[in-house]
């Protein structure tokens, strides 16, 4: 084991200006357009957004899992443990994948190999990255299945994915990800396909496993409830860009970007019973159809002329907060818009 000297405040993972392009029949699109964020050691960052915002592609970029016709543009940087993952040789990248940084996918039925048993798939990870013998790897796999809460792991290890329930399959995925004690977990909608009682079990499991091992986590989700329960910091994505970043408590207390504000208001919850929900008009535009200046301008309740002519920068607001919105310069407009609603109501 090589001990890397790192400053404790040094982030484990830093994305800088990450850009992913796809060449399509309709021309070049940029579904991930200049994404930057840091994840500290032991921290959970939630990357939130609706379908098509680029959050899953961003996650795939980290381990260079983007396939042609997708391309990670030059100038993008992904620093993991002080190594730029976009320039490390393939062999080194392979040794990082699964061992130092592991991914948990949304759909365990497609992410697991149907012709290998659960135990074999976990043991394979162990054998690929360590010198463990076949039987040692199997023992580790069985122990790991037990650790993620699978009853009678010796029996389950010999079963194939189709013989396991959805919750159990996701536990196998988590076991595979955790077996080599990675310092970074990338979880892409890990509980979205599952029922709410099973989701509760797995969120607890992920949190406990992460805390016990001091790992960092990038949690990709569209569910603000899951964010509130699991993350310390949140980055909100819209149309390929991060539009807001904040510590979780601050974000829920006072969202700054109109998109975040709209998402929170659109959620049905206790207290809103049978009243009209606040909606964000229109739909998420597909990549290639994004407005030129502010990408949210056509759906924003506060938008004014400046929003359709000048792209807002990601303003730094202090206390780890940022917002990609011109309202930062002209906060009076937010108040004015709320007053107007008050008058008409």
């Amino acid at each position: 084991m090589t001990e890397t000297r790192t400053h404790p405040n040094d982030p484990l993972l830093s994305l800088r200006d990450v850009r992913v392009t796809f060449r399509t029949a309709d021309g070049l699109i940029t579904p991930v357009d200049g994404v930057s964020f840091d994840i500290a050691r032991g921290e959970t960052l939630a990357l939130v957004g609706e379908s098509g915002c680029g959050k899953s592609l961003t996650a795939l970029t980290i381990l260079r899992l983007i396939e042609a016709p997708g391309r990670i543009e030059p100038g993008s940087r992904i620093l993991f443990d002080r190594r730029d993952l976009l320039t490390v040789p393939d062999a080194e990248l392979r040794s990082i994948r699964g061992r130092k940084a592991a991914m948990i996918f949304q759909e365990p039925m497609t992410a697991l190999n149907p012709v290998y048993s659960a135990g074999e798939q976990i043991a394979e990870v162990v054998r690929t990255h360590t010198k463990a013998s076949r039987s040692e790897a199997w023992t580790q796999a069985v122990a790991m299945l037990g650790a993620v809460g699978i009853p009678s792991p010796e029996i389950r290890a010999k079963q194939y994915p189709h013989q396991l329930s959805g919750g159990m399959r996701q536990r196998v995925m988590i076991a595979m990800a955790l077996v080599l004690n990675p310092s970074l977990l990338i979880a892409d909608e890990p509980t979205t396909a599952l029922d709410v009682t099973i989701q509760a079990q797995l969120l607890d499991l992920l949190r406990e496993a992460q805390q016990a091992r001091g790992a960092s986590m990038l949690l990709i989700t569209h569910d603000l409830g899951v964010v509130a329960e699991s993350a310390q910091r949140v980055a909100v994505m819209y149309a390929g860009q991060i539009v807001e970043e904040a510590p979780v408590v601050a974000l829920f207390a006072a969202p700054q970007h109109p998109y975040t504000e709209g998402l929170m208001a659109a959620m049905p919850r206790a207290g809103s019973r049978r009243e009209r929900l606040t909606t964000i008009p229109g739909t998420v535009p597909p990549p290639g159809a994004w407005p030129a200046a502010c990408r949210f301008a056509d759906r924003c309740r506060y938008a004014w002329s400046r929003c359709t002519t000048e792209a807002p920068p990601l303003h730094q607001l202090g206390d780890g907060r940022s917002s990609r919105c011109h309202l930062v310069d002209e906060p009076a407009r937010r108040v004015a818009a709320h007053d107007m609603v008050g008058v008409t109501a």
């Binding site: 709410v196 099973i198 409830g225 829920f252 919850r269 019973r273 049978r274 929900l277």
Partner: protein, 348 residues
């Protein structure tokens, strides 16, 4: 309650399991067992539960898209299960279905105008120019532009397709619509638009909804009454207010406490159930929930007696043979649960 619009009694559905080279019936899956409830005109009754609990099968049995094994379904005074042929088709006009998946439930080769018009033609409600006018006004009513009638489903987003599905259901002027997870496939911002639309239509047209869902946040927002199903059985039934604040059945309590609240400061005092739901092909004896139940008084009786659905308080039915919440410290006291939920009210 006055005479219910829809009344379901003792509804059961068994699917045979076939196996072996002769494809003999080797067993059966009891997808729905002895389900009974009423839906009053103008209300929204939600049927909730996790995958495999039988909520969708219940909805389909009511519409006779699946033939139930046993039971009675009365709609507007008519016994739906005895209808055949033309009479059944005629009845279907009054009880329509909106599907979960807006991508799979529209015919990709039909323009959305034709899709909405099909019901009008089949039920001979309008023809020619009159039908076209009806289609256009329906499209506007659900928030689609009338000139889009000549477009095909692939040209629309998920939320817009779900609006087409709603317009199609509305075309024949039904009294009741079975909504099978109508917003589950949609993004949060679009989901809110469709929820508002459903509420507006209900108010304007006096519609009755049977709302099948697993998202309890949406259910709490939309439903007037809620039926909770587990492994094919109704385990609890109450008004939405009562169910969300004073759940009796341990499964309902666990289900409600498992909802992730969009509030990072909310206490994490959830009940986490152990294990997965058992297979409906081999349900547990007695109370179907007993293997996962955390009730402190759980005993051998729970493994032997099938708990009847009893009225524990006026209008509040639950299937549990033990003393409900309030008598035991183990449960989240109802008041605490309620305050916890109101604590999660909008932060801004």
């Amino acid at each position: 309650m006055s005479e219910p619009l829809l009344s379901v009694r003792g509804l059961s559905k068994e699917f045979p399991i076939r196996g072996g080279i002769l494809n003999r019936v080797t067993g059966s899956v009891r997808a729905v067992t002895d389900v009974s409830f009423d839906v009053a005109a103008g209300e929204t009754l939600a049927v909730v539960g996790e995958s495999g609990c039988g909520k969708t099968t219940t909805g389909r049995c009511i519409l006779r898209l699946i033939e139930p094994t046993a039971g009675q379904v009365t709609f507007d005074g008519v016994d739906l299960l005895s209808l055949r042929g033309a009479a059944l088709r005629k009845m279907r006009r009054h009880i329509q279905l909106v599907f979960q998946d807006p991508y799979a439930s529209l015919n990709p080769r039909m323009t959305i105008g034709d899709t909405v018009k099909e019901g009008l033609t089949i039920h001979q409600l309008a023809e020619g120019a009159a039908a076209d006018r009806r289609v256009q006004s329906l499209m506007e009513e659900v928030g689609l532009r009338r000139e889009w009638a000549t477009r095909y489903p692939h040209e629309f987003s998920g939320g817009q397709r779900q609006r087409v599905g709603i317009a199609r259901a509305l075309a024949v002027e039904p009294k009741c619509i079975v909504l099978d997870e109508p917003v589950s496939a949609l993004d949060v911002s679009v989901q809110a638009q469709v929820i508002n639309l459903l509420q507006d239509l209900q108010r304007d047209r006096g519609l009755t909804y049977l709302f099948i869902a697993h998202d309890l946040g949406v259910v709490e927002h939309l439903a007037t009454r809620v039926v909770v199903m587990y492994l094919g059985r109704v385990v609890e039934m109450a008004t939405a207010d009562v169910l969300f604040s004073e759940p009796i059945m341990p499964y309902t309590q666990a289900l409600l406490s498992a909802i992730p609240l969009p509030d990072p400061l909310a206490p994490r005092d959830r009940i986490v159930l152990v294990g997965d739901p058992p297979s409906p092909a081999n349900p547990p004896s007695g109370c179907v929930f007993h293997p996962r139940c955390f009730h402190p008084d759980k005993d051998v009786a729970c493994t032997q007696v099938i708990p009847p659905l009893e009225e524990k308080a006026p209008g509040h039915w639950a299937a549990c043979i033990k003393q409900p919440a309030g008598t035991s410290d183990f449960f989240l006291p109802a008041a605490a649960l309620r305050s916890r939920r109101t604590a999660a009210s909008p932060a801004t």
